[in-house]
């Protein structure tokens, strides 16, 4: 064994060095940086292999999806049918809208935007063009003040000042060398002379119709001038009481009332006429003073009033009258201007303005968007009112043709509205009544605002249109007759004012228009059923009494040679209209005597002007005799006298 060990050591010995060398090699290692780099390379290689595999599988997936999707397609039958259907729809549509220009059809969004913009603007426009709620100054107040003016309200004594609001039971007092003006809620005006005391005993305005007013004053002492310029209905009145005498003005008048130091009441009619009621110790005397007549009543020993005609025009002999007439002229112009402004205030744009179309569109939109029927009709009426106001402005500018178009539109709109009311009267009576009241009130307000206009005025067309529309509002024969008679009476008032201004020619024309209107009213009346006829005749007779007084007032003011034509026209009007009314009365008599008609005839018979009876009416079974100053001026019935030849001379004498 030793031998073998020795031999092995001998053989191995030469390799020991090598072994040692190799053992030293185990200490050699790859530097850390190289190790990390090598690792990165290996990992990147592995990732690349994995990614390549993944992408390859996704690409396969995509390819597979595409292949499957390419197999999906609609059936040939479906494709064909749908195409046919679409082409039919397309062709139908193309034919249907071929009349619309391409540039409109192809810009629907643009036009839709325009419409939307207009709509939005329209909403805004409504604010811009909202009708201002302008109310007339329906108040009674002090006007111009000079000197010492006080108002007694109960136990209070208030220093008077311009625009001081007055109430019922207020007492206005002027001191020495002092004057005051009171403007009333009905647009009438009174002027207090020095040392005057007036109590406002009643101020009334119908809330449902502001044109129905009552003003009552009591003159305790001093002198009071009153000018009534535009009362428009038979209900309204303006009266001044002085001692036992009451002076009542209707529609239009200028009169002076005073209480003298001796206790006498004196009333002078300066324009048109004033009704007088005097309480004597025995009876109540009623008469009418026409222009130029004065009545004096002794209050200590009450007797019938002493009535006399002034030989000289009042303004020439009395400074107070002259001053007041001049002030009235100015005041009437002011009121006319105010009334026009009130209507004009509803106007924002006029036809011809680039904004007018927008305004119309805005209104249309507003009306169309109002779902409630009644609210919509109210807006329609407001729109019609705007047209009326626009017409007024255009007439002022002399653009009559454009104004005429607007007035026609106004008439048509109101007519349609009235027809709608008739058709829906049973639907909602309360709402219908509200709407009707609104229309009636507005028309009455126009009538009052325009009542100062004369045929020579450029705005007169407005007044005529309101007259025509008011006739449309009359729902029964009595109302229609009332409206016709009232409008006829207005012609007489216009004639009076024209004659005052010296335009006797136009005044004459208006008197003739009056006769024509009464004649037409009687013709219409004959076609009515008996009940309605009786009511219509009654209405006509009521109005006739007032008309006769105005005719007397016109005649009283026409004394010069130049007015002869007017005097003849007045005489003819009186005769012709009385003849016509006689016809109407007989027509009613055919169906049986009517106590109401007889009563009204008696009323006409009792008309007293300046202390004298004007006409005497005798009704027999088949004949009506009308006398004036004992002479027959008109006969209606079996024996008819030629009116012209029978009437003129006696009537002239009577006046």
């Amino acid at each position: 064994m030793k031998f073998l060990d020795r031999l092995l050591q001998k053989k191995i010995a030469p390799y020991a060095a090598l072994e040692n060398k190799l053992k030293q090699c185990s200490n050699i290692s790859l530097p850390r940086e190289k190790q990390a780099g090598m690792k990165r390379l290996i990992m990147a290689s592995l990732q690349a292999q994995k990614k390549s595999f993944h992408e390859a599988s996704l690409a396969d997936l995509i390819e597979k999806i595409k292949n499957l999707a390419s197999q999906i397609h609609p059936s040939a039958a479906f494709q064909s049918l749908l195409k046919e259907k679409l082409i039919t729809v397309a062709e139908f549509h193309a034919r249907r809208f071929s009349f619309i220009p391409f540039w409109i059809r192809n810009h629907r969004r643009f036009w839709a935007s325009i419409v939307a913009a207009v709509f939005v603007f329209g909403l805004f426009f409504n604010f811009t063009f909202k009708i201002p709620n302008v109310e007339a100054s329906f108040v009674t107040s002090l006007g111009e003040i000079n000197g010492d003016v006080t108002v007694m309200r109960g136990e209070q004594v208030i220093l008077g000042a311009p625009n001081f609001l007055l109430k019922s039971d207020d007492v206005v007092r002027t001191g020495a060398n002092s004057k005051a003006v009171i403007r009333f809620l009905d647009q009438s005006v009174s002027r207090l002379d020095e040392n005057t005391e007036v109590k406002i005993s009643k101020l009334f305005m119908n809330p449902a119709n502001k044109t129905e007013t009552v003003v009552e004053l009591v003159l305790h002492r001093g002198r009071l001038w009153s000018r009534v310029i535009n009362l428009i209905n038979n209900f309204s009145r303006f009266q001044v009481k002085a001692k036992n005498t009451v002076a009542v003005a209707k529609k239009k008048a200028a009169f002076d009332v005073s209480v003298t130091a001796k206790g006498k009441a004196k009333v002078s009619a300066v324009q048109n006429k004033v009704d007088l009621v005097v309480a004597t110790d025995k009876k109540i005397i009623e008469t009418t003073l026409v222009k130029g007549f004065t009545a004096e009543v002794k209050t200590d020993t009450p007797l019938a009033p002493q009535i006399r005609q002034e030989l000289q025009p009042a303004d020439q002999k009395d400074q107070w009258v002259a001053e007041n007439l001049a002030a009235d002229k100015q005041y009437i112009e002011t009121v006319k201007q105010e009334n026009q402004t009130q209507i004009n205030s509803q106007v924002q744009v006029l036809p011809g303005s680039p904004f007018y179309g927008m305004k119309e569109l805005s209104e249309g939109t507003k009306i169309a968007l109002t779902l409630d029927d009644f609210a919509r009709r109210k807006k329609v009426f407001l729109a019609a009112q705007e047209k009326f106001a626009e017409a007024q402005v255009l007439l002022t500018k002399g653009e009559t043709e454009k104004a005429r178009v607007l007035l026609d539109a106004f008439k048509v709109q109101v007519q349609n509205l009235l027809q709608w009311i008739l058709d829906h009267e049973a639907d909602d009576p309360v709402q219908i009544l509200t709407l009707k009241t609104q229309i009636t009130e507005a028309l009455s307000a126009y009538e009052k605002q325009l009542s100062l206009l004369l045929p020579t005025d450029p705005l007169y067309a407005l007044k005529e249109v309101i007259g025509q529309v008011k006739l449309l509002t009359a729902t029964d024969p009595q109302q229609k007759t009332q409206e016709l008679a009232s409008q006829a009476g207005d012609k007489l008032l216009e004639a009076h004012d024209l004659a005052e201004q010296g335009d006797t020619e136009t005044a004459q024309q208006q008197v003739k228009e009056y006769s024509k209107a009464i004649s037409e009213a009687v013709s219409d009346l004959k076609q009515l059923p008996s009940d309605a006829k009786e009511q219509a005749v009654t209405t006509l007779l009521d109005n006739k009494a007032e008309d006769l007084k105005i005719l007397e007032a016109i005649a009283a003011g026409t004394t010069s040679v130049i007015a002869d034509g007017l005097q003849i026209a007045v005489t003819d009007a009186k005769t012709d209209t009385l003849t016509k009314i006689g016809e109407a009365v007989l027509n009613v008599q055919q169906t049986g005597p009517s106590s109401e008609v007889l009563k009204k005839l008696e009323g006409i018979k009792n008309i007293d002007v300046n202390g004298k009876s004007v006409v005497d009416v005798t009704l027999t079974k088949d004949r009506v005799d009308i006398k004036s100053d004992g002479a027959v001026i008109a006969v209606t019935g079996t024996t008819t006298l030629p009116a012209a030849s029978a009437s003129k001379e006696p009537l002239k004498n009577s006046l």
Binding site: L58, A69, S70, I87, R108
Partner: protein, 189 residues
């Protein structure tokens, strides 16, 4: 694979659209021919075979109604697919569907077992079922990109996303589909 895109250039398509806007029904017919396949396909994978025809009709009727409002600032195909997309959305809203795909397609997740999975291969039915499992915007991009071969620009206009965002979305949609398919036992495409 047949091309999914209409075989007309964009200017040619725009010319047809212009004529259609002026009421030319024949041009509209040509547009219909070009796009009826892609639209039907889009709807097929969105709502299923049952509703695809009805909605295709609706899309083209709506297109005719609205064609005058089309402006060439966007591709016509993008505009058309946007109509299809809106109609699909309306369809689901009005029908209160919880799932977009037809209930007629069997739920393979339930019936799937290992044996069946072993024999299953990737077909139309599987694709439909897998698509049903995807999120809506994944499904939409797969249909537009791979089934209708629309460009990224067109898809961006339809979906209202940037093209960079679309590339990420495409990749994720594919991965999602692959994962769903693998779960369903489909790994051999």
């Amino acid at each position: 694979m047949q091309s999914q895109k209409p075989q007309l250039t964009d200017p040619e398509i725009e010319a047809l659209v212009g004529k259609s806007q002026r009421g030319d029904s024949e041009s509209f017919g040509k547009i219909y021919d070009l796009f009826v396949g892609p639209i039907y396909r889009y709807l097929y994978y969105r709502v299923g075979a049952e509703e695809a025809e009805d909605l295709t009709e609706l899309v083209f009727l709506k297109t005719w109604e609205s064609i005058r409002s089309y402006r060439p600032k966007r591709r016509f195909s993008a505009w058309l697919f946007r109509i299809a997309h809106n109609i699909t959305v309306d369809f689901y809203r009005s029908n209160h569907f919880k799932d977009e795909l037809s209930e007629d397609i069997p739920d393979l997740r339930i019936e799937a077992n290992s044996i069946e999975r072993a024999h299953r291969h990737f077909d139309q039915q599987i694709l439909g079922q897998a698509m049903k499992e995807l999120k809506d915007h994944y499904r939409q991009i797969l249909i537009l990109k791979y089934m209708n071969d629309l460009s990224n620009e067109e898809i961006a206009q339809i979906m209202g996303r940037s093209q960079a965002a679309l590339r990420i979305l495409q990749f994720r949609a594919l991965k999602s589909l692959k994962r769903v398919l693998e779960k369903m036992g489909i790994s051999d495409f």
